[in-house]
């Protein structure tokens, strides 16, 4: 018996018929290209021991997707597993394992189409694993061995991976003629919730595995080992995290004209209840109603979004720099030679 969320997760397994032939073929080409890189990357590090391991891991992800928990009103939450696979096995092996899981589901259970399989593998196998790993490991580094670092990382990486997969799936559907104004909000809304389930399960599984068999997940434990995480985060990691974050935010700015032009929930209630006019306008406004004076239409919204983004980014960066310099000063003080004990 399929429950409702099973059908909703199903929304990422695109069946045949819903994607145009050019869209489906284009994503087959992309998928084959990335998988070819993954095969090359893994065959270097892969000894014959790892072939049974990866096969069993694909079976594991398949079985783990069956473990579910009741949420609300007969729906249930369960795992997609791409971020988890990438964090446990590394990005390239994770991609291959997830590609095999998606392929098995399509070939044996008609869960997702054959022509659409390229797009499905790209969304659920390649993107989730890539986001899980290349967002997860820099985050682990930034948190530097703190026990809650793994918790936050597991949740954030898994949630973002589901959202990115949903965005890609919406993009493919939109390119195939389904109106973007419908498919993006619907998919993102549903998967924002599915992603929470994914995040909670992933973080619980990760913390359980790392505390039980830390020897197994060498990629993770190297980040959790106090001796490696003590050294400062290098510039490359900071740059990478910043770049990924900015790209996500700019992407969001570009689809912002799709957002509802209606007032937000609070304003709407205020309007209905007739107390909106009692609200005070901010004493200054740089970007009135998120538009730029003198420009109109979508371009204005996008540019206003990006300008706002840069302001927030600059503020956050400045605060982070302040905290950092203060912490550095404190550390220097601590590491400075202590005066003799008798002095105080």
């Amino acid at each position: 018996m399929q429950s409702l969320t099973d059908l909703l997760v199903f929304a990422l397994h695109v069946p045949d018929g819903f994607l145009n032939a050019p869209v489906a073929l284009l994503w087959w080409v992309l998928t084959v290209a990335v998988l070819a890189v993954a095969v090359r990357k893994t065959s270097g590090s892969l000894n014959e021991r790892q072939i049974p391991l990866m096969g069993v891991m694909a079976a594991f992800i398949f079985a783990a997707q069956m473990l579910n928990f009741p949420v609300l009103g007969g729906t249930s939450g369960h795992l997609l597993g791409g971020a988890l696979a990438a964090l446990l096995l590394g990005p390239w092996a994770g991609m291959l394992v997830m590609a095999c899981v998606v392929g098995l589901q399509a070939l044996l259970f008609q869960d997702g189409g054959l022509l659409a399989m390229g797009a499905n593998i790209f969304n659920m196998g390649i993107l989730t694993a890539a986001v899980g790993y290349w967002l997860g490991t820099p985050l682990l580094r930034l948190f530097g061995g703190k026990p809650w670092g793994l918790v936050v990382t597991g949740f954030v990486a898994a949630w973002v991976s589901v959202m990115v997969a949903a965005i890609a799936c919406s993009l493919q559907l939109a390119l195939s003629g389904v109106p973007a104004g419908v498919v993006f909000p619907a998919m993102l809304f549903v998967h924002a919730f599915i992603g929470v389930g994914e995040g909670l399960i992933t973080l619980a599984a990760l913390t359980f595995i790392v505390s039980t068999r830390p020897d197994l997940v060498t990629t993770l434990t190297s980040y959790l080992d106090p001796t490696t995480t003590r050294r400062p985060v290098d510039g490359r990691t900071v740059g990478l995290v910043t770049l990924v974050g900015l790209l996500c935010a700019v992407g969001a700015a570009f689809i912002s004209p799709l957002a509802s032009g209606d007032p937000d929930g609070l304003e709407r209630v205020a309007e209905d209840q007739g107390f909106l006019d009692r609200a005070l306008d901010a004493p200054f406004s740089i970007l009135p109603d998120y538009t730029i004076p003198g420009l109109d239409g979508n371009a204005s919204t996008i540019i206003a979004g990006i300008v706002g983004l840069l302001i927030v980014f600059a503020l956050a960066y400045g605060i982070a720099m302040l905290i950092r310099s203060r912490r550095q000063a404190a550390e220097e003080e601590r590491s400075a030679p202590r005066p003799a004990t008798g002095e105080r």
Partner: protein, 264 residues
């Protein structure tokens, strides 16, 4: 546990069951690609495609009713596509007043939606026919012949072998949780959603550790039987002239239908 209800039909004897996996895989992929290329609203071409498929299903001695019943799995996805009915420009047919807005269905939108549903329905049936008449290891041999990288073939074959073992492991975990989770009728039980998710997360973690340890045992067992990283398989047989003929005629027919549909 078996793969699915389709396993019941996989050991039958029929002209379709006897075909080489490569022929069936290529014809299925060609069929689904041809369907995807057909322009919307070309009912004659859809009918021709459906006729071809149902003829093949009857040759395979599969119950058409079972296939049809099973093929609705893709139907929930229609929810995503239903919006094209109201957004595609065309002659307005009827309007749905919906509180905040009125949705107007157009003829072009309705034709596109019906075409998407038909294509999806026929594609699922084609995939069902392939799965119901071909052993998974024959499919893997076909994929290897089509130059899928050996490592992916190896992962797929291991995954297929151990999928059922691990699914049963997962079912044992679920059963154990159910045994420990008594509920009183009419009363809320079982903690918050985050707590439940954490329980499932630890189950996933347990399953991972058991799978990992199992894979180590498998590797050692294989090593003691002479495994050196290569999978030895029979070399694929040559296609018989009938199979070659069928492949050429089938693909030509599909190309013909697709080409003609653009001129109709």
């Amino acid at each position: 546990m078996t793969t699915s209800f389709l396993d019941r039909y996989i050991d039958r004897q029929s002209p379709v069951h006897g075909l080489d996996g490569r022929v069936k895989l290529l014809l299925t992929l060609g069929y689904i690609l041809a369907l995807a290329l057909l322009p919307p609203g070309n009912w004659l071409a859809y009918a021709a495609c459906a006729g071809l498929l149902w003829w093949a299903i009857s040759r395979a001695q599969l119950p058409l009713r079972t296939i049809l019943a099973r093929s609705i799995v893709a139907l929930p996805f229609a929810l995503v596509a239903v919006s094209v009915v109201f957004t595609r420009p065309g002659l307005p047919l009827f309007s749905l007043p919906l509180g905040f807005a009125t949705l107007t269905a157009t003829d072009a939108g309705l034709i596109l939606f019906a075409s998407i549903l038909l294509k999806s329905w026929l594609s699922v049936q084609a995939a069902l026919l392939l799965t119901a008449t071909t052993h998974f290891f024959d499919l893997l041999a076909a994929l290897r012949a089509l130059h899928l990288p050996p490592i992916l073939v190896a992962i797929l074959s291991f995954a297929y072998r151990y999928m059922f073992v691990l699914v049963e492991e997962a079912q044992r975990l679920l059963r154990a949780r159910d045994c420990r989770s008594a509920t009183l009728p009419g009363q809320r039980s079982g903690g918050s959603i985050a707590w439940r998710a954490a329980v499932v997360g630890r189950m996933v973690g347990t399953l991972f550790l058991r799978s990992y340890e199992r894979s180590e045992r498998i590797y050692v067992a294989m090593l003691s039987r002479g495994y050196n990283g290569n999978m030895h398989t029979l070399t694929p047989r040559r296609l018989t002239p009938t199979e070659q003929g069928l492949l050429v005629v089938g693909l030509a027919l599909l190309t013909g239908i697709t080409t003609l549909s653009f001129f109709m």
